[in-house]
Amino acid sequence: MAGSDEHEAAFNAIVDGDGRIEPRDAMPEAYRKTLIRQMAQHAHSEIIGMQPEGNWISRAPSLRRKAILLAKVQDEAGHGLYLYAAAETLGVSRDHLLDLLHTRRQKYSSIFNYPTLTWADVGAIGWLVDGAAITNQVPLTRCSYGPYARAMVRICKEESFHQRQGFEALLALTRGSAAQKAMAQDALDRWWYPSLAMFGPPDAASTHTDQSLRWGIKRFGNDELRQRFVDMTAPQADVLGLAIPDPNLRWNPERGHYDFTEPDYDELFRVIKGDGPCNRQRMEHRVAAHTEGAWVREAAAAYAAKQAKRAEQAGAAA
């Protein structure tokens, strides 16, 4: 088993030296599996995440906002495609990963199990949910697995654009009528804690954190990233003139951070287990799109096979 020890030593040397693991490099099976799980679930989140925002495309209140939203949801499908492609470098197929999603054997971000009840929710998702995603993902641009890190560079650029657009959409509401401002506050009230929960359980209760930190897949713990998000977001809420729904939120000069109330992690675990407001609806929608589209994919495959055969026959005849 000397070979395997050598492989492990080479892998550790790369990770410890802050280098990048590439698809052809040897890697521990557990590392490969952890990455597949994390990247696939990241891709699934992009795909399921199209639904809550897509819910408002037909009703966007101005043509400009409709165009921005269409572009954003289109980007999310594109991000899903990058991430599935990056995961495929680890020797799994997109079809297999989608099957794991559809049969509920893999998960997606808890946040997309909440409903978009008003137009302001679209702005709140851009500002808070994309803001939380960026906080999580910017460190992943230095992730030890090269294809994932590179996908994150591209995705973060687009996400930060969307995050500014979400903030700007909310700003338009808070500078608008009393009804618009109330709509914005209501959205913040409903999306604040679910956004904090996006960082996952506290480090002490997180199953994967330690190993992922050691392997350079994660760079920071859940709690540190959550704190970073609160520190970034609280002053932005002030600019909007909105109140974050947390009576304990205040600047702590000794820590140099905002103190805040933790989200309800029991709720997080219930949502992750499938018992959030929209879990069933999101999955049924996704599975229905896939099932109802099967005949289209089969047609494309049959046509491609016929074309290949025709090309072959034309080549043989020539």
């Binding site: 897509g54 400009r64 949801v73 589209g293 005949w295 289209v296």
Partner: protein
């Protein structure tokens, strides 16, 4: 005010706006992720065209109506899109049949409208023609794949063509507005687009092993605000939030 020019710009703008609204309904429910991207992309192009055309109609009209006033505060009797654009999505074959018919028409139209004596329309057409060329190619590829794919996809493609075919004749209707503007070389005479459109669509259908449906009684009325029963629902959904907050900025 140049009333025919307002009407003409609204017609083209409404075609794109209403079709963009329909394509937006596909997002997050397409047969594969690549199609979620493609259909959103096409919807976005069409929405962009609609915005410039409606903005221009409002400017020529000179009554202070911007793109949103025109999109959100007109009722269905004032919309000027062809009926084809408002047809429900149906299955993917219906959507692709509708898309091939519209994009093939828009391609011939914008290709010629680039030479319009009206500089703004010429500029809008110059940008739009590149986009609809891509849309036409996308729809063409799918009509080929579905028509020449499996038995099931062929059956659905035939049904899709039959569903949209009666609505294609309206694309080529002329009236006082188009007569007047095409005499001035501002508009393209819709009747002049029929032959090149038929040649393109006929070529695609032949390659897919499909026949153009038998001639059937043509459906028309959209250019004069006489729509199908579907448009009212489309507008109710599209306009509801905007109309609930009159005068608000978004």
């Amino acid at each position: 005010m140049n009333e025919p020019l307002v009407d003409y710009s609204l017609r083209l703008g409404d075609d794109s706006l209403v079709l963009a609204q329909r394509l937006g309904e596909w997002v997050a429910r397409a047969p594969e992720l690549e199609e979620d991207v493609a259909l959103a992309n096409i919807a976005l192009d069409l929405l962009g065209q609609a915005r410039t055309l409606l903005t221009y109609a409002g400017q020529v009209e000179g009554a202070g109506r911007d793109e949103d006033a025109l999109a959100y505060w007109r009722d269905d009797r004032d919309f000027r899109n062809v009926l084809l654009a408002e047809l429900p999505n149906g299955d993917f074959a219906v959507t692709m049949a509708r898309q091939l018919m519209v994009s093939a028409y828009q391609y011939e139209l914008y290709d010629r409208l680039r030479a319009s004596a009206d500089e703004t329309l010429a500029a809008i057409a110059g940008k739009a023609v590149k986009e609809v060329h891509y849309h036409r190619d996308h729809a063409t590829q799918w009509v080929l794949r579905l028509g020449d794919g499996t038995d099931e996809s062929r059956r659905r493609m035939v049904a899709g063509l039959e569903a949209v075919w009666p609505y294609t004749d309206e694309l080529f209707d002329t009236d006082d507005v188009t007569d007047l503007l095409s005499t001035d070389a501002v508009a393209v005479d819709p009747a002049s687009l029929r032959d090149p459109w038929r040649a393109y669509v006929g070529g695609v259908l032949a390659e897919a092993g499909l026949e153009p449906p038998d001639d059937v009684p043509a459906r028309r009325g959209g250019r004069h605000g006489l729509h199908t029963e579907q448009l009212g629902y489309l507008l109710a959904e599209m306009q509801h939030l905007h109309r609930s907050h009159p005068g608000a900025s978004w």
